[in-house]
């Protein structure tokens, strides 16, 4: 009886072993056939640096057909002349908020050089809450007209402050106002305005 039991036990163990082996063999074949194979694991590390990046989507403000002693604006204000010019349109394409300074490298007028009320700018949000309405330092308030700093020796004015970079909140208008001085000669006039962005 004891011998029989042992035989039965051994047989059962062998059967179990064969069953496991067969199952493993079948399973392995199926796993291989479906392309599921084991892979060694590893770690990929990367540091993502922030980017400061701006684009002037409208980079030329062109007043046409202007007259001496008249004032023109790009903001569409009906209280003054419009002259069809569009404002600068600035976009923050970076991955961080930015402060943007501006200055004009040269004077727009021959008779009014340097900072003057004949050449002014103002900043407004073009989308959502693009920028802080004011912040510390030489930062102008929104929608207030300021003289454009002219000349290399001038400290650039912080025009746009903590400019957002998220979509739909990343555009700002920089409107320009010109007053044609008395005695200004006829002909084309131009001035180059440099917008410099840094992380805020």
């Amino acid at each position: 009886m004891e011998i029989q039991s042992n035989k039965m036990l051994v047989s059962a163990l062998l059967a179990a072993f064969l069953l496991v082996a067969a199952g493993f063999w079948i399973l392995q074949g199926k796993l291989e056939s479906t392309g599921l194979t084991s892979s060694p694991t590893g770690t990929v590390s990367a540091s993502v640096y922030s980017t400061a990046d701006i684009a002037l989507k409208i980079s030329a403000v062109t007043f046409s057909n202007v007259s001496i002693d008249f004032t023109y604006r790009t903001d569409g204000n009906t209280a003054v002349n419009h002259s069809g010019a569009e404002a600068f349109l600035l976009r923050n394409d970076g991955s961080v908020t930015a402060n943007v300074t501006l200055y004009a490298g040269d004077s727009l007028w021959v008779t009014q050089t340097g900072n003057s009320s004949y050449y002014r700018f103002n900043v407004t949000n073009a989308t959502g809450n693009t920028t802080a309405k004011n912040c510390s330092g030489s930062s102008p308030d929104h929608n207030v007209w300021y003289n454009v700093p002219v000349g290399a020796g001038n400290v650039a004015t912080k025009a746009v402050c903590i400019m957002d970079y998220t979509d739909n909140n990343d555009y700002a208008n920089i409107s320009i106002e010109i007053t044609v001085p008395s005695g200004e000669s006829s002909g084309g006039k131009s001035s180059e305005v440099v917008f410099t962005a840094t992380q805020s």
């Binding site: 990046d53 062109t62 007043f63 001038n154 006039k189 440099v194 840094t198």
Partner: protein, 419 residues
């Protein structure tokens, strides 16, 4: 004579078409901050980023108090340098504009929607002579040249960007700075905060404690969160996270006031955060039926779901006929919405010769860069419905009145006879 000169001026400055020029430039990394360690050398890779669809000529400069210890390699153009970033940049532009340099000399070419690497190397000098705090150095990139259309009075914009390379000179003794983040959350979820402590001193601090006071939209302190004390080693940054359950609070703009206490010193930083989103709902749009050639008054009832005043709220109502064609539009005046208050915005539509029938109203409410929309209807009718008097009712009333009068008359007569 003056008039004539004005006319001449106007005639010369004739219409000039707008330029579609785009000026774009980027730099990565935008800011690096290191401790000011004497004789330490750094070699930093920067990428000039051009997202424009055209290749770009880019002028390179570096500047700041340590400019004499810096140099840029890996580029094929002149690199400008000096202490004042504004002066260096302006000098670069002037030399290009004056023709002192060719564009190839002044700027390197960056392909369209591409990047160009440059390397900035620096060996830090002795710290003596530099005040505690940040020594701000920069590497700058400016797009060249400025091409303006001929004629007119033109203000042309150039984009420039500067990567900041900051070195921190330690303050004597124990000196910590505090920065903080406060992230809002939907009502009922957790608002998350983070206090960031930086050791800008010359000694380690073993016991820095931060607490956060939270203020409601009307400025009442609701609670104070005490964060666990931390050790902050030399030049180390320590971030301490915290959260606050907003369940049971009101929607609105909240303030978190972070207070850092260490070595008998106190520093505070305030951050604003929001519970819920700034929201206005349209309760309803109503408009009574109107006649042709009259004015329909459209009432848009709005309700603020926000805990602070919402300024300059207005609505635009579009009126559409049965075919879906827009036949009119009206804009309401601006109103300020007090917290959680209701207001009625009024719009008016002149019906003119519009056909009789129902018109769809599509109202959009504008507030703080957001919108809410709803629909309603208005009818143009031949006759304004009012109290309808039917002839049957008039006759019935007349009969009742006649019977009452007759009864009163006969009753009085009988009384007279008896007496």
């Amino acid at each position: 004579m003056e008039f004539r000169s004005k006319q001449v001026f106007a005639a010369v400055l004739l219409a000039v078409t707008f330029s579609s020029m785009v000026s774009a430039i980027g730099v990565r990394p935008s800011r690096l901050v290191y401790p000011f360690e004497e004789a330490r050398e750094y070699s930093i890779g920067y990428a000039i980023v051009n997202r424009d669809v055209e290749q770009s000529r880019v002028g390179i400069y570096f500047c700041g108090p340590l400019w004499k210890n810096m140099r840029v390699t890996g580029n094929d153009s002149i690199v400008f340098a000096g202490e004042s970033c504004g002066d260096v940049q302006a000098n670069l532009l002037k030399m290009v504009n004056d023709g002192d340099l060719t564009l190839e000399q002044a700027g390197t070419l960056v392909k369209a929607q591409g990047e160009k690497p440059v390397t900035l190397s620096i060996k830090l000098p002795s710290r003596s002579g530099y005040s505690p705090g940040i020594v701000d150095n920069r590497i700058g990139f400016i797009q060249l040249p400025l091409e303006l259309p001929e004629g007119g009075v033109i203000s042309g914009g150039i984009a420039a960007v500067e990567g900041q390379l900051w070195f921190k000179v330690p303050y004597p003794g124990k000196f910590l700075t505090l920065d903080a983040n406060a992230e809002g959350a939907p009502l009922g979820e957790k608002a998350r905060f983070k206090a960031i402590i930086t050791n800008d001193g010359s000694e380690a601090v073993s016991d820095a404690r931060v607490s956060i006071d939270i203020f409601s939209p009307d400025g009442v302190r609701i609670t104070t969160i005490e964060l666990p004390p931390k050790e902050v080693k030399l030049t180390e940054n320590v971030e301490i996270p915290a959260s606050w359950d907003t369940d049971g609070q009101e929607l609105g703009a909240y303030k978190a006031s972070f207070r850092l206490v260490y070595a008998d010193k106190i520093t505070t930083v305030e951050k604003n955060f929001q519970i819920g989103g700034l929201e206005i709902s349209i309760v309803g749009i109503t408009a009574k039926a109107v006649l042709k050639n009259s004015i329909a008054k459209i009432l848009i009832e709005v309700q603020s779901k926000w805990g602070n005043k919402i300024k300059d709220v207005y609505a635009v109502v579009g009126i559409y006929n049965k075919l879906g064609n827009k036949v009119g539009e009206s804009k309401t005046s601006l109103v300020d919405l007090r917290p959680y208050s209701k207001e009625v915005l009024q719009a008016f539509w002149e019906t003119g010769e519009s056909e009789l029938g129902d018109y769809k109203l599509n109202a959009t409410v504008f507030f703080e860069g957001k919108t809410a929309s709803a629909e309603g209807t208005v009818s143009v009718v031949e006759q304004v419905p009012g109290f309808e008097v039917k002839m049957e009712y008039v006759l019935l009333a007349a009969v009742i009145l006649a019977l009452a009068l007759a009864a009163w008359f006969f009753r009085n007569r009988i009384r007279v006879r008896v007496s």
